[in-house]
Symmetry: C2
Subunit: 296 residues, 2 copies
């Protein structure tokens, strides 16, 4: 497992390592004036996730941290009863597959059987599974200082990353107070957040004092994943969907979007906010640090 | 089926109708200064797609054109032998489900059976299915004038849309020469392109003279979908992934990315380009027309 442990001067436990692995390629083409041009583009490859002997899904991923991705995906889909139940995770690079093995038999076989019996008038199985666990979720009464938000945003945007190197990629960062801790990137829609979830599970990380930052939209899936991970606060530089907001309000998740420079909008869980930042000292986002042509 | 037929002065056969349906909501929260603020956010809802009696997938969608979405999704996944085989499409709004019925039995049951037999060392079923048909694809020798590219980019960016209204959404536009024809938007990653595919199938639209424009990244999936639809040219204002480029080159698809203002990069199928635009007359993209906080 590739681990970029930083020295004490960096707050990160795990940070992007854009040059350290086969994560991007130099590709040559032609620009608008017909000149030959070489640009850096992100690699993507398929990764098939197995739960015991059953093939669950093939994700398109940049390929780092396949074990975290598999573990986090299965946990966020509600297919694992807990990390204690995981007996072994095997990654086969040649086969582009990860097998997560559990001690007890999982109930997913049962769920798949249920799927084939689903009548025409029922919400989809996968989706239904995601919603199922939400009723039992109770998020802790955390606090969020606006000074942390601004500090996090600045640090994350200036951290060397595959995004800054090649663009066209998502980022998700696990944070605590004003410190970004684990910064995952991926080309796949929800892989970055699933990798953070996998890291948290394997490290037994506490969720109640964490903040999740994402470059992606605040959709229902993103909100559900964050809540499933037990994290009470989700922030993004991108926008909202109506259902994302609705679910966040229902389960008491603090939802911050459109976080750019001084500006943000809080559409759920406003009571956790402590407005301690002096806005006069928060400069508008420097143009060079803006994520403008990011993953879309 | 909601159809926005435009008058002759507009080139669109089908254009976004941001105010016409329940596609966005007004949500009230608090801004960075603690002021109450109301913003427009995109709605999303689940749509479960059935092929005959089998539940295939639940997509998160804005909810317009469910029939096109279901049809296009199934076709792009290689689950339909052709539109001729489709006997009926039923959308049940209350159940949030679409059922696509075929005359002949589909082979998808067989494919699902194969899936459970897949050994550990095999690429994922869904993904394998997508790649399967590529060998038989032969894209036509179309031409692409750079003047069309700039005209399309300008028209699309200034078309009233849910994106301009609420942000956080993807757009895909079917174009012919310098005319955008069908502009679909969706919160779901590939729903917009699947809806275009569904429209093309039901209308029997010719693909060989078309250009597909997307706001999203040029990933392998996007390239495969475009090729499956028979469209020889794919352009985006966003970036590339390495595998997207590799597949485009293998199948001879013209791939244009990072299309903003005067600038673009062509990483595949350069031979289709005719550089007829006078760059001196193409102004750099006006700031107000840039898609900067788009769907991520």
């Amino acid at each position: 497992m590739q681990l970029t442990l930083k020295t004490k001067t960096s707050p990160y436990l795990l940070a992007p390592n854009p040059g350290g692995m086969d994560l991007s390629s130099q590709v040559t083409g032609f620009d608008h004036e017909g000149r030959e041009t070489t640009i850096s583009v992100v690699n993507e490859r398929p990764l098939t996730i197995f739960l015991n002997s059953r093939e669950i899904v093939t994700a398109m991923t940049i390929g780092d941290y396949p074990e975290y991705l598999a573990l986090g995906f299965l946990a966020n889909q509600g297919m694992l009863s807990g990390y204690d139940d995981v007996s072994r995770i095997d990654y086969d690079e040649e086969c582009e597959a990860v097998v997560v093995r559990t001690k007890s038999q999982t109930t997913y076989e049962e769920k798949l059987a249920k799927k084939t019996r689903t009548s025409g008038c029922a919400v989809g199985t996968v989706f239904g599974d995601m919603l199922e666990g939400l009723e039992n979720i109770s998020l802790p009464p955390a606090r969020l200082r606006t000074s942390w938000l601004y500090a996090l945003s600045h640090q994350i945007n200036t951290t060397p990353s595959l995004y800054l190197e090649a663009g066209a990629i998502h980022g998700t960062v696990l944070c605590q107070q004003d410190q970004p801790l684990v910064y995952m990137e991926d080309v796949g829609r929800h892989n970055a957040v699933d990798k953070v979830a996998g890291w948290m599970l394997s490290e037994g990380a506490e969720a109640s004092d964490k903040i999740l930052y994402t470059t992606g939209r605040l959709t229902s899936e993103m909100v559900i994943k964050t809540a499933t991970m037990g994290i009470p606060i989700l922030a993004s530089r991108s926008g909202f969907t109506a259902w994302g907001v609705e679910i966040a309000r229902k389960i008491g998740l603090t939802l911050i979007g459109r976080l750019r420079g001084q500006r943000f909008v809080c559409l759920s869980g406003e009571e956790r906010l402590i407005r301690d930042a002096d806005l006069a000292t928060v400069s508008s986002e420097a143009k060079k640090h803006g994520r403008k042509g990011g993953a879309k």
